[in-house]
Symmetry: C2
Subunit: 345 residues, 2 copies
C-alpha cells in the first residue's frame, strides 16, 4: 500500500445523503438521529447528510425530501462529536445565500462541491468562498468514468487551484473496474498536492474492490454507505470496506465491530430494500450510464414496448449525461420503430 | 488475460445446488423447472442441482430436502439441452450404490467430487470409478483458503492422478482476496495438466472480483449462482460475473441479457431473501470460518450472552473446520466465563 505519506485514510459515510436516493429522500428524524449515533461509534471521519442530490435539491423535479436541509443537519449535528458533519453542494441545486450559509449555521464541518467531471469550473465560486471562510471543502467529479485520465487531471487541477482540500472521483454509474480506478486515482495522486478520494457504486459488483484499488493507488478518502444504501445499485458498503481495510491492516479511525453494527442497524431500521443488482442496474453499469436513468428507462421501455437494457446500451453509446433525460424517450421511440420495421419484414 | 490455450471459459451455474442452502433445501419442482429453462437460455455450461450438501445429504442432521435427488435431477434434466447437468458428491454424504448410480441413471453429465482441501484422498474411489465409466468428473477442494499454495498443489495433483478432468478451489468461507486467488489459481494452472476452477462466496464483498482474478490467473471453470443465491453470504452472482466477462471481452457460451434474465427470474421466484452481508457473515469471512458455522454461532452467542463475532474470530484463530461444530459451544462457554470474570474484577 503506497498511501500518500502521513495521510491517514479518511472514511466518509454518506448513508444519510446518497442513501436518501434509495428511499426517495424520505429519511426521517429518527433515522437520522439513530444512524448518526452509529456512525459516531463506528468511527466514520465524516457523515454526509441531506437530500440525495444535496443542498437545496428538494423539489418536484428530483423529489421532495421528508425534512428540510436544516432539519436534517440539526438532527445529525446533535449526535456527532468526533465524526464531522458534511453536506453535498451541487451548484445549480445549491445556492450560497439560500442553502450554503444556513447549512454552515447548522454546524456543517465540510462541504463537498460537485459537478460533472468535465465541468469543474462551476465549482469555482463555492470552493473559493468556502476556502476563504475557513471551511473544509472538497471537489467532487461526477460520472468520472466518462472522462479520460488526462482530462480528469486537468479538471482536478482546477479544483486544487480554487482552494479545495481534496478532489473525489465519483463512479456515478458504477462503471469502474479496479484497473481503471488504479489508473485514474494513481494519476491524480501523482499529479496533485491535495488529497484524492473515490466514491464507488456497485452496478458491476465491484464497489468494494474498486475502493480498495483506490486506496492502493493513493486515495486517502473513501466514500461508503451502510449496507450499500444508496443510488442505483447502491454504494460501496461501509461494513465490507471496513472488513477489507482490517484484513489489509490499513489504519483508519474505524472500529471494526461498530462499523459492522452500523450496517446491521441500517438494515433493521431504514433500509427498506438492500440495494441489489437487477438486470437494468447491471446494464447501466455495463453501458456507463448514470444510475438515475434506470427508472425513466424502465418507464419508457414499458410505454414503447422495448427492452430497457437496449435503451441504456444505446444511451451509453451516445455518451449521454445527466440533464439529457430527453434522450431516453428519443432512444425508446427509435427502438420501437426499428422493432416494428423488423416485425413487418 | 492469459487463459490456458484453447480452453474456453466454462460457467457452472450452481443456483439449484448451493442455492438450496439459502432456503433450507426447500427448492421445489417448479423452481427447478423454471430455473433450468433460464440457465439453458443463459448459456450456462453446467447446471448443478441437488441438496445444498450434494447427493445423499438430505437428513435430519444437515436438513431434509423438499425433493429427493432423483426428483430434482429428473425435473432439471427434462429442460436441458446444451447446458449439461451436474451434481456435487461429497464422500460421506454420497455413496456409490445408493446415490451416485441412481443419479447417473437420471442423466447426470458431470459429477463434482468434493472434500476438505487437505483430504483429497477421500475423493479417490469416486473419481477413479467415474472416470472409468466415462463420466466427466471434477475434484472440489473445500475451504481452500486454509491451505497454503504448496499443499493445494499437492492435493490437486492427487485429484489429477485419480483421473479428474478439473480441480476447483472452493472459497467456502468467502475469505479470499483477489491477490490470494491469483496466487493459488496461478500456481495450480501452472502445475497441472487439467483445468482449474474457482467457486467464490461473497462474505467480504469480493466474489465477483475474485472470480475475475481467477480467470486472469488461468482458471477455465467459474462457479456462479443467480443473484448470489447460496450458502452464507451467497455466491458470486451469475449476472455480475456475466457483466464483467462481457466488459473484459472474455469468450463464454453465456448470452449476456439471458444471463441477466436468469438473475431477475431467481429474484422474482424462489430467492426469498437476497444473500447479503450482515455483521456475522462478514466476520465469518474475516475469520476464515466455514459459512455454515454462522447460524450455530448466533445460537450459541444468544445462549451464553456473548458476541457471535467473538466466537467466529476465536474459531478462526483455532483453524476449526467443518465437522468440528462442538468447538462453537466450547468457545462460547469460554468467552462467557471470561466476561463474567471481567464483570467481577
Amino acid at each position: 500500500m503506497n498511501m500518500s505519506a502521513g495521510r491517514k485514510l479518511e472514511i466518509c459515510d454518506t448513508t444519510l445523503r446518497d442513501g436518501n436516493h434509495a428511499v426517495a429522500h424520505q429519511l426521517g428524524h429518527t433515522d437520522i438521529v439513530e444512524y448518526a449515533k452509529a456512525a459516531e461509534l463506528a468511527g466514520a471521519d465524516l457523515l454526509e447528510v441531506g437530500h440525495g442530490n444535496g443542498l437545496g435539491a428538494s423539489s418536484l423535479q428530483v423529489g421532495r425530501a421528508a425534512l428540510s436541509d436544516t432539519e436534517m443537519l440539526t438532527a445529525a449535528r446533535a449526535q456527532l462529536k468526533n465524526t464531522r458533519l458534511g453536506v453535498l453542494s451541487i451548484p445549480g441545486f445549491a445556492t450560497v445565500e439560500r442553502d450554503l450559509k444556513p447549512a454552515l449555521d447548522c454546524g456543517v464541518d465540510e462541504v463537498r462541491v460537485g459537478a460533472h467531471c468535465t465541468e469543474a469550473d462551476v465549482t469555482r465560486q463555492q470552493i473559493t468562498m468556502l476556502r476563504e471562510m475557513g471551511v473544509t471543502v472538497k471537489g467532487m467529479l461526477l460520472m468520472s468514468h466518462m472522462a479520460p485520465t488526462k482530462t480528469l487531471v486537468e479538471q482536478a487541477r482546477l479544483i486544487q487551484e480554487y482552494g479545495a482540500h481534496a478532489v473525489i472521483l465519483m463512479d456515478s454509474a458504477g462503471a469502474y473496474t479496479p484497473a481503471a480506478v488504479e489508473e485514474k486515482i494513481g494519476a491524480l495522486a501523482g499529479e496533485l498536492d491535495i488529497a484524492v478520494g473515490f466514491h464507488g457504486h456497485n452496478n458491476l459488483g465491484l464497489s468494494v474492490m474498486n475502493s480498495m484499488a483506490a486506496v492502493r493507488a493513493g486515495a486517502t478518502v473513501v466514500d461508503v454507505t451502510a449496507r450499500g444504501f444508496g443510488a442505483g445499485a447502491g454504494n460501496a458498503p461501509l461494513e465490507l470496506v471496513a472488513a477489507n481495510l482490517h484484513l489489509e491492516q490499513i489504519e483508519t479511525r474505524l472500529q471494526l465491530f461498530a462499523a459492522l453494527d452500523a450496517g446491521d442497524l441500517a438494515e433493521s431500521t431504514f433500509v427498506k430494500r438492500i440495494p441489489t443488482n437487477d438486470s437494468v442496474t447491471i446494464t447501466s453499469g455495463i453501458a456507463g450510464v448514470f444510475s438515475g436513468f434506470a427508472a425513466p428507462a424502465r418507464r419508457a421501455a414499458q410505454h414503447f414496448e422495448v427492452d430497457p437494457r437496449d435503451i441504456l446500451m444505446e444511451l451509453g453509446r451516445r455518451g449521454v449525461v445527466a440533464g439529457q433525460e430527453d434522450s431516453i424517450i428519443e432512444v425508446a421511440m427509435g427502438l420501437a420503430e426499428k422493432n416494428s420495421l423488423i416485425d413487418v419484414m
